[in-house]
């Protein structure tokens, strides 16, 4: 893992889980907890780059398998575990996409390898914003859902029955919140 990968720092609780996996001390429970923490992001990342839910499932499995086998090599001083996982996930996604069985029903020329993010940071940025959308206050979230659905601000105002100035204000505040989440990510802040 490259030094300086962004992502929330790895907290002591999470380090304990990784240690339990590395030492095989009740690894089932530790594996399940780590899975529950990261699977959603990894799965969405997989769907995003592989364009297929089944292949994304394979990617999630292969990422966690690889993680287990390398858990004893994890060094928290080198970066957050999230960045490490996504480095593995990106590699797994690329391997999966190159398998002949991943493209059985498409002519070769129609199949595209997943878009390669310039850095893991880029993938994490996208997924951080994706997660942060879930934390928005409901009045902001409802506007952003419609923005994501492709509606213009005029259409959103009509749909929600609120003045367009309110829509602008709410989308701006939502964007400010998402930017703050990103800044937190880039600054290495955050909690376990």
């Amino acid at each position: 893992m490259a030094r300086g990968d962004s992502g929330a720092r790895t907290g002591p609780h999470e380090i304990g889980l990784i240690a339990r996996i590395a030492s095989r001390n009740d690894p089932d429970e530790a594996a399940r907890r780590l899975y529950r923490k990261y699977h959603m992001e990894l799965f969405r990342f997989g769907v995003h780059v592989l364009h297929d839910q089944g292949l994304a499932e394979d990617m999630v499995q292969e990422t966690f398998i690889k993680f287990c086998r390398q858990a004893s090599n994890y060094d928290p001083s080198r970066g957050p575990v999230r960045g490490w996982l996504f480095t593995m996930a990106r590699s797994a996604a690329y391997d999966i996409a190159r398998r002949p069985s991943s493209r059985p029903f498409l002519p070769v020329e129609d199949f595209q390898l997943p878009p390669q993010y310039d850095t893991v940071d880029q993938a994490l940025t996208v997924l951080t914003v994706d997660q942060a959308l879930d934390k928005l206050p409901s009045i902001h979230a409802s506007v952003m859902r419609l923005v994501r659905d492709g509606l213009t601000h005029s259409e959103i105002a009509e749909r929600l029955g609120i003045p367009i100035g309110t829509v602008k204000s709410r989308s701006a505040k939502a964007a400010d919140t998402l930017r703050a989440e990103l800044a937190s990510l880039r600054g290495g802040g955050g909690a376990d």
Binding site: I15, G16, A19, I21, A22, S23, R24, N25, P27, D28, A31, R32, Y35, H39, F43, R44, V47, H48, Q53, A56, E57, Q61, E62, I65, K66, F67, C68, R69, S72, Y74, P76, S77, A92, D95, I96, R99, P100, S101, P104, T125, V126, V129, D130, M144, V147, R148, L151, T152, H153, S154, I164, G165, V167, K168, S169, S171, A172, A175, L178, R179
Partner: protein
């Protein structure tokens, strides 16, 4: 951050533009408008980056519920595999890290591993206090395993016999299907990325399926697999076209185990047509642990 007044003065099209929702024709007009509107320019300066990210967010899809159990089972299996590899590696007296994927020698529970061969856990990762027990080597009783394997083979053989009987007896009673021309398809299988992680990256297999009336009989030859611990088995799957609820369409082709040679030749029967279920996958499964579909180790398509 823009003030409420700046937001109020900016045109709504500026927000539509940064979030990628402004129709193309209006976009051209809006770009011209920007030259003379500092309020809209301020919106673009402030929100273009975050707007671009939101525009390109992946679809909100939820993983299936069964993925958790399958993945945790695969993680546990990988850890057990790694542990057995380490123990087998030590028993073999080969300390240079090679050939771990070929032969497993079962761990001896009473043996204390030399310090340099224990799993390395960085000091910062040591769980808990010195009261934490050292991880104990896994006890594996080879005779028990043999008994389980024999039972498993017997079950597989019995199941195959029932299937074959179900096909052959009705055919014999009805005089057969009229001797149709026999169709044969071949499925070469190669190791997946998961197989490398699993320590079977050099594995290969080949299935030759022959139509037998309404069913198909296929000979499967595998090489480079590894004996699995406990009651774990290899499972052969036919993968159909399309998906059901976003999941692969899978029909089991049978299960098997391999000995220390890592090779096996088996004959199985299936009701699916390999010309439609064109992909074959071989997974490692742990019966009874809740896993429905373990890691895919070998995969291939009909030629």
């Amino acid at each position: 951050m823009l003030t409420e007044q700046q937001i109020e003065l900016a045109h709504p099209e500026a927000f539509d533009f940064v979030f990628g929702n402004l129709p193309t024709a209006e976009g051209v007009e809006f770009i011209r408008h920007l030259d003379g509107c500092r309020h809209c320019r301020a919106v673009l300066d402030e929100y273009s980056e975050i707007g671009g990210i939101i525009k390109d967010l992946p679809p909100r899809t939820e993983p299936p519920a069964g993925l958790e159990d399958r993945t945790v089972a695969a993680m546990t299996a990988a850890l057990a595999e790694q542990k057995a590899e380490l123990a087998g590696h030590l028993d073999a007296g080969d300390h240079d890290g090679e050939d771990l994927a070929v032969t497993r020698i079962y761990p001896k529970p009473e043996r204390e591993l030399p310090a340099e061969h224990k799993t390395r856990v960085l000091p910062a990762l040591q769980p808990g206090s010195s009261e934490d027990p050292e991880p104990q080597p896994e006890v594996t009783h080879l005779p028990v395993r043999r008994r389980h394997r024999s039972r498993l083979v017997a079950v597989v053989a019995a199941a195959a016999a029932i299937v074959i009987a179900a096909i052959v007896v009705p055919l014999s009673l009805t005089g057969g299907p009229g001797n149709p021309a026999q169709v044969t398809v071949v499925v070469p299988l190669h190791a997946t990325a998961a197989a490398k992680v699993f320590g079977t990256g050099a594995a290969t297999a080949r299935a030759t399926a022959r139509q037998a009336g309404e069913s198909w009989t296929f000979d499967l030859t595998v090489h480079g697999l590894k004996p699995l611990p406990g009651n774990d088995i290899y499972e052969c799957w036919w993968v159909g076209p399309g998906r059901t609820s976003g999941r692969k369409l899978l029909v089991t082709g049978g299960s098997f185990v391999v000995g220390k040679s890592g090779s096996a030749t088996l004959t199985m029967t299936t009701g699916v047509d390999p010309r439609q279920f064109r992909t074959m996958e071989i997974t490692a499964e742990s019966p009874g642990n809740g896993a429905l579909h373990g890691p895919v180790l070998l995969t291939g398509q009909t030629l």
